[in-house]
């Protein structure tokens, strides 16, 4: 039996049972969320917007509406919303929408500037704007809120922390100091020059900003002075070059210090004086007046006042007094020395003068005149003084007076010092024309040095400075400060002292000490070419050791005639047959020779001959290898059409080196090459009229069918080799200068 399902009732049929709507309401959470997100966005956008401000710039390079950011302390604090020119077209109006958190930037006193790359010696700024584009930067002010600002044309020096100490410095003139010049306190940069301007009275002044953390260093007793870009100081200890830093190298800077204790802090916009240099800054005592007969070599701002040799003050101004008779000097002393200014103070003007007694006077050659203050500190305080002028005359102490003469006497004059072993032994009294139009100097020697004056005393010039270079040695001599300026004369006895001299004896003045030492008669040498020879400089060497000096060089009859002196003990060079050769550097593929002459200059190598002594002219040579010159023996010529043999090639006989090729030249008719060979004296008998010479240097190889011939020099004898042999029946002996042909093949 089947059971039927119950018939569907009418109610069931097609009846749609909708889910209750309340069950589907959750779907609407999506639009709700979307609306919430949108609202939140609007709201946060609204609240993050600060006020809109307008900034006037004279120009606004790289500023774009909607893109350029306003940056405060590195944080984006706003955005440019509009850029437009103002009505008169003479400025730019930039609208900036500040962010809410930066709303306080819209306060009076806020500085805005456009940050763009600045590359200068002092610093490089705004580099990030190269990458990120220009931006507007701000430094917050403290005034009441406002929306209109005037932008700065360039970045302020202290962008963020504005409360720094600002002071102004005045000086009659301010050279080389401009914006950004550093301000130093004991070498530490503590501030900057903010501006340089001319005030109403026409005096230049500097606005100086001292960083906040260093502001306490500026006291009311502080003295400011200019630091020159570079300072070259010559002193008795030498020369020193000071550069106060790269920035200061270009424009200098300002330094300050307080030289007296108990200063009080200063306030903004206080005024200070700017002294021209540190010394002037130190001298801050009361002004004093000193009158002098004349003011020769007094320099306002430069001349110093010394007390016990120590500088204690300086001359501020020099002027002729109203009745035009005397000179009135205004000076200032450093305040600790003010107590020296009493009625018994004496001021003496000391000018540069060289005298036997005055070593202290020498320093004024460098430093200029000084005013020496002598004071016991007793008597009434005074500010007006009468100064004396010091004299630098040398007393005659009974020493000998002699004369020296030379062809010319440059740089030497009355007052030039005369040294003996480094001591000032006298001075030149007079320069005059002596007998035979030879200038001479009258010299006073101090009594104490009389014993050093002998008939064989040599006088020579002390040059202002002498620099001599040798291989590996560079020697600079400065004979003292006086000599640095005008040179001097020195003397010494070389060898056994001679007889003592009487007054008014005349001596020859040599150019250099070396020349003075070379006491022999001059040797005359003629050269074909005098290249590289220097009077008074080129040395004569024997076995490489300097033994003399070229004294003079002149041309005569198409030759260069050199007069040289050799030291005592080398008289043997004066023999016939001596060789004098100029040694010059030579650079060739074969090697470098005479290299030492690159530093020392050319020199003349001397090789003594064996002949008799002679006073005649020697015939000089030129060489790059002094060793070659020493070969002596039979000189023959070997003639060839062409050859690769070069000077230096050995001449061999049965594998023995018996001579050397010393020269290679074209024959007179130009058809052949002539090699000069020197055969050692003891082998010269081997060379006969029928001797066969051949080129032994080449390596020959012939290969195969086409008979390829290879000829090359060996590495061991790069100059080649000349060999010779005699036939079984030798010929007659030959004389020097005999010409042999050069064969390419050995004797069969």
């Amino acid at each position: 039996m089947t059971t039927h399902p119950p018939e569907p009732s009418d109610e069931d049929h097609g009846k749609v049972v909708p889910a209750p709507r309340v069950h589907r309401i959750w779907a609407w959470i999506f639009p709700a969320l979307a609306a919430a997100a949108g609202m939140w966005l609007l709201w946060s956008n609204w609240t993050s917007k600060g006020p809109e401000i307008q900034i006037h710039f004279s120009e606004a390079p790289g500023i774009q509406s909607g893109k350029t950011m306003l940056i405060y302390r590195g944080v984006t604090s706003g955005q440019v919303t509009g850029v437009s020119l103002n009505k008169d077209l003479d400025g730019v109006l930039v609208s900036v929408r500040l962010k809410a958190f930066a709303a306080h930037l819209a306060s009076e006193g806020t500085d805005f500037w456009i940050d763009q790359p600045v590359i200068s010696l002092q610093e490089t700024t705004g580099l990030d704007s190269i990458i990120q584009g220009n931006s507007i930067h701000a430094r917050m002010g403290t005034g009441p809120p406002t929306t209109s600002f005037k932008g700065l044309s360039r970045a302020p020096l202290a962008p963020l922390d504005s409360p720094s100490l600002e002071i102004s410095l005045r000086a009659p003139n301010i050279p080389f100091l401009g914006r950004d010049a550093p301000v130093y306190h004991r070498g530490v940069p503590v501030g900057l020059v903010r501006d340089k301007q001319i005030d109403k009275s026409g005096e230049p002044s500097l606005q100086v900003m001292i960083h906040k953390e260093h502001a306490s260093l500026v006291l009311d007793t502080s003295r400011f002075w200019m630091v020159p870009a570079t300072s070259l100081q010559l002193s008795s200890r030498g020369a020193s070059l000071e550069i106060a830093g790269l920035a200061a190298l270009i424009q200098g800077g300002i330094a300050f210090d307080s030289f007296v204790p108990d200063g009080r802090p200063v306030e903004d916009h206080d005024k200070f004086e700017l002294a021209p240099h540190e010394f002037a800054a130190r001298a801050d005592g009361p002004r004093i007046q000193i009158t002098f007969e004349n003011a020769q070599s007094l320099l306002a701002g430069e001349t110093k006042i010394t007390y016990l040799g120590q500088p204690v003050g300086y001359i501020e101004s020099v002027r002729v007094d109203p009745d035009l008779k005397r000179v009135e000097v205004t000076a200032r002393l450093e305040s600790p020395f003010t107590s020296l200014l009493t009625t018994d103070s004496k001021f003496t003007l000391i000018r540069p003068s060289v005298s036997l007694k005055g070593v202290s006077g020498l320093e004024t050659l460098i430093s200029g005149a000084i005013i020496a203050l002598v004071s016991e500190g007793q008597g009434e305080p005074a500010l007006q003084f009468v100064g004396n002028i010091g004299t630098g005359e040398m007393p005659h102490d009974g020493g000998p007076i002699i004369y020296v003469h030379a062809q010319d006497l440059p740089n030497l004059d009355a007052g030039s010092p005369v040294y003996h072993r480094g001591l000032v032994a006298g001075e030149v009294l007079e320069k005059r024309m002596g007998e035979g139009n030879i200038p001479s100097l009258k010299i006073l020697i101090r009594e104490a040095f009389r014993a050093s004056l002998r008939t064989n005393t040599r006088f020579w010039r002390v040059p202002a400075t002498s620099v001599s270079a040798g291989p590996g040695i560079l020697e600079a001599r400065i004979e003292g400060l006086t000599a640095l300026i005008d040179g001097g004369i020195a003397f010494e006895v070389f060898g056994e002292p001679g007889n003592s001299v009487s007054d008014t004896d005349s001596f020859e003045l040599f150019d250099t000490e070396t020349a003075a030492q070379a006491i022999s008669q001059p040797i005359r040498i003629a050269f074909a070419n005098g290249r590289g020879l220097l009077e008074g400089r080129t040395a004569l060497r024997y076995l490489g050791i300097p033994i003399g000096l070229v004294e003079s060089i002149r041309t005569s009859k198409g030759r260069v005639e050199v007069t040289a002196r050799v030291d005592s003990g080398y008289e043997f060079l004066r023999r016939k047959g001596s060789i004098f050769a100029i040694v010059q550097p030579q650079v060739s593929l074969q090697g470098l020779t005479g290299l030492e002459t690159i530093l020392s200059g050319v020199y003349i190598e001397c090789i003594p001959g064996t002949g008799s002594f002679t006073d005649g002219i020697f015939l000089g040579k030129s060489s790059s290898e002094p060793e070659l010159l020493e070969r002596q023996g039979l000189e023959i010529l070997i003639s060839s059409k062409e050859t690769t043999i070069r000077p230096g090639a050995p001449v061999i006989y049965r594998d023995m080196v018996v001579g050397e090729i010393t020269d290679k030249s074209l024959s007179a008719d130009g058809n052949n090459i002539e090699l000069t060979a020197v055969i050692d004296a003891k082998y010269q008998s081997l060379v006969r009229t029928n001797t066969h010479f051949w080129d032994a240097g080449g390596v020959e190889a012939s290969i195969g069918f086409f008979k390829l011939k290879v000829k090359s020099q060996t590495l061991l004898a790069p100059d080649g080799k000349v060999a010779f042999a005699n036939p079984t029946k030798p010929g007659n002996p030959i004389k020097a200068g005999h010409v042999f042909p050069l064969s390419s093949k050995p004797l069969k």
Binding site: V16, P18, A19, H23, R24, A27, W28, I29, F30, P31, L33, A34, A35, A37, G38, L41, G66, K67, M69, S129, I130, I131, Q132, G133
Partner: protein
């Protein structure tokens, strides 16, 4: 899921999409920094940028794909929702929905492109691309329309109106 729920959800998503469409087009989608030039770009701004740089065809494609189609899609969906239960234009509405489904396959291409741009466009200081909130909204709009179109089946067009 019942058809009623589908319909309800679809409606809600269309509304949400319409709401989100506003920030999606007003907020910058990305910030492009090329050689120091910082440019926040909305979708429309991007089209403008492309057009200005002489790429008019590309600009047209982007305009059609990123602005017109999402907008038309939302409008069409809204119309379909409004017309739901009506007996008119049944055939046309079905065709439209089918077309919308087809287009939906490609709708995330913009977001994909943005992702690629942000990932690839990191050339240090020379150029960089940063995604912005606008992109998120834009993606949300696309997702909303995508799901709305998917939930609303063609057969539902032919069903009688539901209460």
């Amino acid at each position: 899921m019942t058809d009623a729920t589908r319909l309800e959800l679809s409606r809600a998503l269309v509304v949400a999409g319409l709401i989100l469409y506003v920030p999606a087009n007003t907020l910058p989608v990305m910030i492009m920094t090329v050689a120091g030039d910082v440019a926040p770009l909305t979708v429309m701004g991007g089209v403008q940028e492309l057009y200005d740089s002489g790429l008019a065809p590309v600009a047209a494609v982007v305009f059609v794909a990123s602005i017109m189609i999402p907008f038309l899609k939302l409008i069409s969906l809204s119309w379909l929702m409004l017309m739901h239960g009506s007996g008119d234009l049944l055939r046309e509405r079905t065709t439209l929905l089918r077309v919308l489904h087809q287009i939906g396959t490609w709708s995330m291409v913009d977001i994909f492109l943005l992702g690629v741009l942000v990932a690839v466009g990191q050339l240090g200081i020379l150029a960089s691309v940063e995604a912005q909130a606008g992109g998120l909204f834009f993606a949300a709009v696309l997702l909303c329309s995508l799901f709305a179109a998917d939930l609303y089946q063609p057969r539902m067009i032919w069903q009688p109106a539901m209460p």
